[in-house]
């Protein structure tokens, strides 16, 4: 399936990647080739084999037991680009 520049830009929007910068032209070009490569799969006739729930293993479940509270100053703050008022801060989000 050929993919249009518009579609590639739409995919970039979904993926939250910049579709305006310089490297995007190259990326869009590469995408054509890569999609051509994966399109080979369309030649494979799978007969009645379909995707289904994998049942090789089932029920990796944990018991409902809660652990004590954690300290966000230790868990979150050290790696946060912007930590304020006990949490990570981001530009104002309008809901």
């Amino acid at each position: 399936m050929a993919i249009s520049r518009k579609e590639i830009e739409h995919i970039a929007v979904l993926a939250r990647l910049d579709s305006t910068g310089g490297i995007f032209d190259r990326l869009a070009e590469d995408m054509q080739g890569i999609i051509g490569m994966v399109d080979k799969l369309q030649q494979l006739d799978l007969g009645d084999i379909t995707d289904q729930i994998d049942t090789e293993r089932k029920n990796a479940l944990r018991e409902d037991v809660a652990k004590p509270e954690s300290n966000p100053e230790e868990l979150i703050k050290p790696n946060a680009p912007d930590f304020q008022a006990g949490g990570v801060a981001v530009p104002r989000v309008v809901e």
Partner: protein, 477 residues
């Protein structure tokens, strides 16, 4: 032209598990910011989810209680979208194989029994909370991330805001009967999205639907539906067409506004979560879940109406509360008291006490046995009904038996005929004027009974006083 509203609901209920759905952080509401967090629920690199068994258990329980088929094999899927309250940038949910499908929920609207079909119930994780008042920007609290939810999706079977409200109330009561959700609306334990369309009355085609979000209360749902139905009729009446879109309800301004149109519909790119494996509910597990489901509110309501002869309002009030209904049924099952007598106590004095003290029945010391003892004591004449009301507070608050409370408070009724006769005769002897009035044809019974009660310090059996007084007066000729 007359229009019919067609309404479907998506109801989210937070499950009252101890820990979150995919990690062992506490799922409780109200902790300090980001103190219920760990690498898993904050989406740190390399962390992996492990499903909480209780979530599967609770979701299947709700499915059975709403007549769903429980899929013995189901899976988890990822719903991908970016938002600051979603730290992994995907929500783990269920897509094409939910845990429960094809249910039916029955409820009453103005005495008429209605049914709303459930398309599905699935489990998923809640998102975090964005705080806008702390700083100039937005701060993210991840405490709610990973709190388990079930989402219940109805078919478009509802046709008015009143039906929607009764459906929601039934869902809430059922969740509370199953003890799988704390149903605290103010903490967001139950939330819903509403899909509304209209069609000409008599038509069977579905109109273009509008989804409404941000509905936080059941009364809000009523207002939102009424507004949207009116809005759609207005659009159509003025020659317009309804656009498929998502609108945001504002329960303060009492109107909705467009959030998203069909064109910018999200593409969530659902796919099976490769970090989780299939969930299978075997027969033994299924039996266990089934065994935990009590008689449900609508069934109790019908039984109270049909077997106990209660009014619609009485039956509704009793069946709405699992604890009250259990209390009533235990009393009735004992065979020692009339169900109606137990119901009267529960609906009046017991409910009043609970309301006044703002406590839940299950948090008090009142038991069915105590209630039975109380009613039996009254029926036997050991205490008066009025004395019973005085005994009640101690029944909620102490471990004493009813007999002990009655004894301690000196409320035991005097029903000894000789003793009462003595009192009656003494009262008559002290009240010559009343006897004169009686002889003159005046009604003095009330006065004399009052005097007898006073003389017995309130413990005389009133029926017996009445009987013996009448007998003595007759003798006086």
């Amino acid at each position: 032209m007359k229009y019919e509203a067609v309404i479907g609901l998506e109801v989210h209920a937070e499950l009252s598990t101890e820990s979150k759905i995919f990690c062992s952080c506490s799922a409780k509401f109200g902790a300090g910011i980001n103190t219920h967090t760990c690498p898993v629920c904050t989406g740190m690199p390399g962390s992996l989810p492990v499903l909480n068994r209780q979530v599967v258990h609770y979701a299947a329980k709700m499915g059975l209680a709403t007549g769903c088929t429980v899929n013995r094999l189901c899976k988890s899927d990822r719903k991908n979208y970016f938002y600051p309250d979603l730290p992994k940038a995907y929500q783990i949910s269920q897509f094409d194989v939910p845990i429960c499908e094809n249910g039916e929920v029955y409820f009453y609207v103005d005495g008429e029994k209605k049914c709303c079909r459930l398309e599905r119930i699935h489990f998923e994780e809640d998102a975090g909370k964005l705080l806008h008042d702390e700083i100039d920007g937005t701060v993210v609290d991840f405490n709610r991330c990973g709190v388990p939810l079930i989402e219940m999706v109805t078919r478009p079977d509802l046709h008015s805001s009143a039906e929607a409200k009764e459906f929601l109330e039934t869902i809430k009561t059922t969740l509370s009967y199953l003890d799988i959700c704390d149903c605290k609306m103010e903490e967001g334990s139950i939330r819903c999205d509403v899909n509304v369309s209209i069609r000409p009355e008599g038509s069977t085609e579905l109109g273009t639907r509008v989804e409404m979000k941000n509905i936080n209360t059941f009364s809000g749902a009523v207002r939102a539906i009424d507004f949207e139905v009116a809005r759609q009729i207005d659009v159509v009446e003025h020659g317009g067409t309804i656009q498929q879109e998502t609108r945001r309800w504002d329960d303060v301004k009492l109107k909705n506004t467009v959030m998203r149109t069909k064109e910018d519909a999200q593409d969530y790119r659902y796919f099976p979560d490769p970090d989780l494996i299939a969930v299978e509910i075997d027969d033994a597990w299924m039996d266990k879940i089934r065994s935990e489901i009590p008689e449900l509110p609508v069934a109790r309501y019908e039984r109270y109406r049909n077997e106990f002869g209660m009014t619609a309002m009485e039956a509704r009030q009793l069946s709405d509360s699992f604890a009250k209904a259990e209390l009533l049924d235990a009393a009735a099952r004992s065979g020692k008291v009339k169900p109606k007598a137990a119901a009267n106590w529960i609906l009046s004095d017991i409910s009043k006490y609970l309301n006044d003290k703002a406590v839940e029945l299950e948090d008090t010391k009142l038991t069915a046995d105590k209630l039975i003892d109380l009613i039996v004591l009254i029926d036997k004449g050991t205490i008066s009904g009025a004395a019973g009301k005085k005994v009640l507070p101690a029944m909620f608050e102490t471990d004493e038996t009813v007999e002990a409370i009655v004894g301690r408070m000196g409320l035991k009724q005097v029903s000894d005929e000789g003793a009462i006769l003595k009192i009656v005769q003494d009262v008559l002897a002290d009240n010559q004027k009343a006897i004169d009035d009686y002889k003159a044809g005046k009604n003095v019974t009330g006065f004399l009974v009052g005097q007898c009660m006073k003389a017995s310090k309130g413990q005389g059996n009133p029926q017996m006083i009445n009987k013996l007084l009448a007998q003595e007066l007759v003798k006086l000729g």
